[in-house]
């Protein structure tokens, strides 16, 4: 029997009132500093990287920059903080800007442990809409963008994210990108493990670089039990391939030892994942193919991915 609306309302109107009992407001835990003022004691800190007044024509900081560290990153991203910790998070500075027309833009500079971590964090957030970001002096970096709304790029051990709540001219985003990139240390090489990826069939910019399961699990769900034994001492790649008529994903993990790779292979094969086509451990590398791919094609890909010089 379906309950009628009148019955529903009768229950709804029984809600209780609990009197307010206010405590004093909690003090903000973040460190703040005016962008580009040189007031930050660490000249290489993300806060010091943020453009200051007059550095981007037509734009000014609209408030003090805020820096978040490991103990208060939850204040910025709540439960997503662990996803950043998995890439050696150290600190992030957030600056907000306004132009003369009242449009706003937010700049985040994330500092993580290594350039590989910065690449990994970048790869975990990208949409696949790859752009080339001019960073000055004729240099460019790989970026990822939603035109007029968002621009991400990585450099050295930093990930830079620009967000516009209302669409802007791409030139504004580019101007901020150049200002930030020019203040960052140059360079930064992608992880060595990327060189193991076979190029034939690889979907460009589809790779995810990771260390820990939290970074992989939204791409490959293995039940949340860390079947693969991933941790801070493992490097992994998850990349998409289009081979023949099908699409597949290659998982490649570098373990600290051959024993660990063998153990992960055993655990993976025992997990009965439907989409698993082939898996193999060779030395300290584990490779596995998932998806719509023949066993023969999977063997070819695995053989190349696990090859060592």
């Amino acid at each position: 029997m379906k309950v009628r609306w009148s019955t529903v309302l009768a229950g709804l109107l029984l809600a209780a009132f609990v009197a307010g009992c206010g405590a004093q407001p909690t003090s903000p835990p973040q460190a703040t500093v005016a962008p580009g003022t040189g007031n930050d004691p660490d000249p290489a800190s993300p806060a010091s990287i943020l453009p200051g007044s007059g550095q981007v024509p037509g734009w000014e900081p609209s408030d003090e920059a805020t820096t978040y560290f490991a103990d208060n990153l939850y204040d910025l991203v709540n439960g997503q903080a662990d996803a950043f910790f998995a890439y050696g998070f150290e600190q992030v500075a957030v600056g907000n800007y306004e132009n003369t027309e009242g449009a706003s833009l937010r700049v985040e500079v994330w500092q993580v442990g290594t350039p590989s971590d910065a690449y990994g964090l970048f790869s975990s957030l990208r949409s696949g809409n790859t752009v080339s970001v001019a960073t000055g002096s004729g240099q460019t970096r790989e970026g990822d963008a939603d035109p007029g709304r968002r621009l991400d790029f990585w450099q050295d051990r930093y990930l830079v994210r620009l967000f516009a709540p209302v669409e802007l001219d791409d030139a504004d985003l580019t101007a901020f990108a150049m200002a930030v990139a020019g203040a960052l240390p140059g360079g930064g090489e992608p992880p060595d493990l990327l060189r193991q990826l076979p190029l034939d069939g690889l979907v460009p910019h589809s790779d995810l670089f990771f260390h820990q399961e939290i970074s992989l699990q939204s791409y490959l769900w293995l039940g949340g039990e860390n079947v693969l034994g991933l941790g801070t001492d493992t490097d992994g790649i998850w990349a998409r391939y289009e081979v023949g008529s099908g699409a597949a994903h290659l998982l490649l993990v570098h373990y600290p030892s051959a024993t660990a790779a063998e153990a992960a292979l055993d655990a993976l094969q025992a997990s009965a994942i439907d989409s698993l086509v082939r898996a193999e451990a060779r030395g300290d590398l584990l490779g596995a193919l998932f998806g719509a791919i023949s066993e023969a094609e999977a063997d070819l890909l695995l053989d190349e991915a696990l090859a060592t010089e």
Partner: protein
């Protein structure tokens, strides 16, 4: 809030309108139309204002719990202001309506107009903590605004979540407490369900309106168009329907969606605590397409 198991099934209404986006902002008139149609379908009556009056007394203080932690994909303000408009149309004083999330900065960055003590609908972040509740993993310290209000309208926006799989209505209340960081272990389970079972939330929540004009199936700062509102009296059922929307988006993007289902253990825990229904057979989904 009356829902399964008090009813045979929990109803969730999904309202769509392909013309809701006028450029980069939603059309307020269409959002109001969607809200009216959704509530009318949910309550099985055409007199929308009568529904609002039945749900909320004329002098009650109503907290609209939005979710602005995501800079790029917050609860769309057009949806929240439509709800505030209908509360006023039903006779509630604007000053008794508080649009709330944990910080002023996040509300302002999401496009909300801060107003504390001025004329009109109130809007501000937390000003301190109030009551506490003991959960399995930690004591939850509610913001005092949750104590201040007589009633809550939960206004989440569907998002994937790196630990809990999804963040929709139930997870939205991690922004109602001062110490959410202590409740993220074991995929936030059973903390999410236990938090929502507290009288401060369960006893006051009258309606859930999911702002799904945009949803975030991957990165919170890369929301995708969905052109929909979700309405229910049951946050668990609404979360289940919202999860399925996120799953569809991820599948359309060629991405694995198993994580959204597997990690969202809190839905079954919430059902076990009688907070609502997540089993498919216990949910009645009604779709309304307006344009």
């Amino acid at each position: 809030m009356a829902h399964w198991p008090a009813t045979d099934t929990s109803r969730v209404v999904l309202v769509r309108h392909s013309g809701v986006w006028a450029g980069s902002t939603p059309d307020p008139a269409i959002v109001l139309e969607m809200l009216d149609a959704g509530l009318s379908t949910l309550a099985e009556t055409g007199d929308v204002l009568a529904i609002w009056r039945a749900l909320f007394g004329p002098q009650e203080r109503v907290l609209l719990k939005v979710n602005c932690i995501s800079y790029g994909g917050p609860t769309q303000p057009a949806v929240t202001y439509a709800v505030a408009q209908r509360l006023q149309d039903a006779g509630l004083p604007a000053g008794n309506i508080l649009i709330f999330d944990r910080t002023d900065n996040e509300l302002a960055a999401a496009g909300y107009s801060l107003n504390e003590g001025g004329i009109g609908v109130q809007c501000h972040g937390a000003r301190g903590t109030g009551t506490e509740s003991a959960l399995s993993q930690a004591r939850a310290r509610f913001y005092q605004e949750l104590d201040w209000c007589d009633a809550i309208i939960n206004l989440p926006t569907p998002k994937q979540h790196g630990m809990a799989g999804i963040s929709i209505a139930l997870k939205n209340h991690y922004g109602s407490i001062a110490n959410p960081g202590q409740l993220h272990g074991n995929s936030c389970d059973p903390a999410i369900a236990e938090l929502n079972a507290q009288p401060t939330i369960r006893g006051k929540t009258r309606l859930v309106v999911g702002a799904a004009l945009m949803v975030s199936p991957t990165d919170w700062n890369r929301p995708e168009r969905e052109d929909a509102l979700l309405l229910s009296f049951d946050p668990v059922a609404l979360d289940t329907v919202g999860r399925d929307i996120l799953v569809r988006h991820r599948q359309e993007m060629g991405q694995n969606a198993g994580f959204l289902v597997g990690a969202a253990k809190h839905l079954q825990t919430a059902q076990a605590l009688n907070l609502g229904a997540t089993d498919t057979g216990l949910i009645e989904l009604k779709e309304v397409v307006l344009g």
